[in-house]
């Protein structure tokens, strides 16, 4: 049992270190995602929706569908907690 646990942990660590080696270095200003996706969001947040807070603009408008799904997940979790604990078993 301990052999399997140790091997899983070693495998996860090795995979994460290899992935960390192949991702772009931290604090780099010229990585591909900051040139294309984030540049679009930063340039067009005020023009499209008059919102200086870029994080709120992405959360509520550019990616509003994900936030809707997440709100539904939160409500489902609360409902599951309610149904588990308030029913006299």
């Amino acid at each position: 049992m301990r052999f399997w646990a140790a091997s899983v942990v070693v495998a996860v660590t090795v995979l994460l270190l290899l992935a960390g080696g192949s991702l772009p270095p931290l604090r780099a200003v010229d990585s591909p995602i900051s040139r294309t996706v984030e540049a679009y969001y930063v340039e067009n947040a005020i023009r499209d929706m008059d919102t200086p807070n870029i994080v709120s603009a992405i959360l509520a408008d550019y990616r509003g569908y994900d936030t809707f799904g997440e709100t539904t997940v939160v409500f489902a979790a609360g409902l599951a907690c309610f149904l588990l604990l308030r029913r006299p078993l």
Binding site: V29, S34, I46, P52, V55, A77
Partner: protein, 125 residues
């Protein structure tokens, strides 16, 4: 070999630190027998992943991704806003997961009287 490690630690230090946290959390999740300790280990793994994404959003010389009034067209480097958005959802999902998990643990304790994994496997027979 050593300068590869030195380069990893200088440029990608946060990836290594987060990997250590995820390894600690995964090990505790698999090895500990108490269910509450497993739940805390899961929480540690989730927090480490959130830290990894937020560390990926740093930019050299960047500032908070809020456009200051009057500086709309100025040439300012902003931190990346995208991981912050994704991690807001992740934090709230963490809370929901912890709530449902502890509700299940309360029901398990009411039914079996224990929260240790091996005693639970015995009492289920």
């Amino acid at each position: 070999m050593t300068d590869a490690i030195a380069q990893f630690l200088s440029e990608r230090f946060e990836y290594g630190a987060t990997t250590v946290l995820i390894a600690i959390g995964t090990h505790a999740l698999l090895v500990k027998k108490n269910l509450v300790k497993k739940m805390i280990a899961l929480n540690v793994v989730q927090t480490a992943i959130i830290l990894l994404f937020i560390a990926m959003s740093l930019r050299r010389g960047g500032t908070v991704p809020i456009i200051a009034p009057g500086a709309e067209n100025a040439d300012v480097i902003y931190m990346s806003p995208l991981p912050h958005v994704l991690m807001l959802t992740a934090i709230v999902v963490m809370v929901g997961t912890a709530g449902v998990a502890f509700a299940l643990l309360i029901r398990i304790y009411q039914r079996y009287g224990t929260l240790e994994e091996d005693e639970l496997l015995e009492r289920r027979q």
